[in-house]
Symmetry: C2
Subunit: 176 residues, 2 copies
Amino acid sequence: MATMAIEKVKSFIRDVPDFPKPGVVFKDITPLLQNPTLFKSTVEKMAGPFRRKGITHVASVESRGFIFGAPVAYQLDAGFIPVRKKGKLPYKTAAFDYELEYGTDTLEIHADALDASSRVLVIDDVLATGGTAHATCKLVEKLKAKVVGMSFVIELEFLHGREKLRGYDVLTLIRY
Amino acid sequence: MATMAIEKVKSFIRDVPDFPKPGVVFKDITPLLQNPTLFKSTVEKMAGPFRRKGITHVASVESRGFIFGAPVAYQLDAGFIPVRKKGKLPYKTAAFDYELEYGTDTLEIHADALDASSRVLVIDDVLATGGTAHATCKLVEKLKAKVVGMSFVIELEFLHGREKLRGYDVLTLIRY
């Protein structure tokens, strides 16, 4: 995205202090979603570099990941694969446990969602520690599918998520 | 949608018995999402009848609502407004309590998400009892915006959700 366009998108991301807990400054993307032109151009910028890469499916983690992942799938003529917290998907699943700051969490994908012929783009709103993004890649690979790349709106560089995603093609539009 | 196309979409909705609890047959839309052609045509059929209605925003309830709401917003050149469970939205919110089978639940919308000039399409995957859809309309109206219509993939007619939504323009693609 041109520098001016990035500055414009940045001006529609709101800092909310002390959310979800004291001391954390939350990057609120809802003003960006609310703006039809910026929402559209953000989706297109996330999808663009992967347009000629033979993407068959977009995978995203609930809930905010769905907001960008589903229109990117639509834009790329790909299928959409929801990755969800434990117990939310109704059919047979593959699961992956990942570490949080305190304790662990589990993400699931439907066991028949992908196969060895699938070429997957992973989409989320924010790359923070990279924990959920890494777990999503592992779920895709458990189903023998290939992670072609990953695309995020925001990268919080001070959390070093990129290190956890070494070896993957990672695109981020806005960095803090 | 032509009858044949509807039958095709229906064949990609999977019945999962006893989910989320014994005795309930869950309509699993993930095989539909997974199919690029059907996902795209479903989004277009949900948006189509509202294309010339001056929709400025699409509002959807997390999580599955986001999967159709965000691409419909993209398709209609509209903004996207997430409606979420209590405590999930970071900024100032308007809230609406609604009744469940046992107890109540609360949905929230950002207080600055819409205003009197907004013309809103409400999107969700399934119209069941109509409780969350009705709550979403009330939240939109609390912000002085107009609900122009509502569009769902699936309607479970035996739950009579339409009665709760009387007075609104309700479109559903597939009925059981």
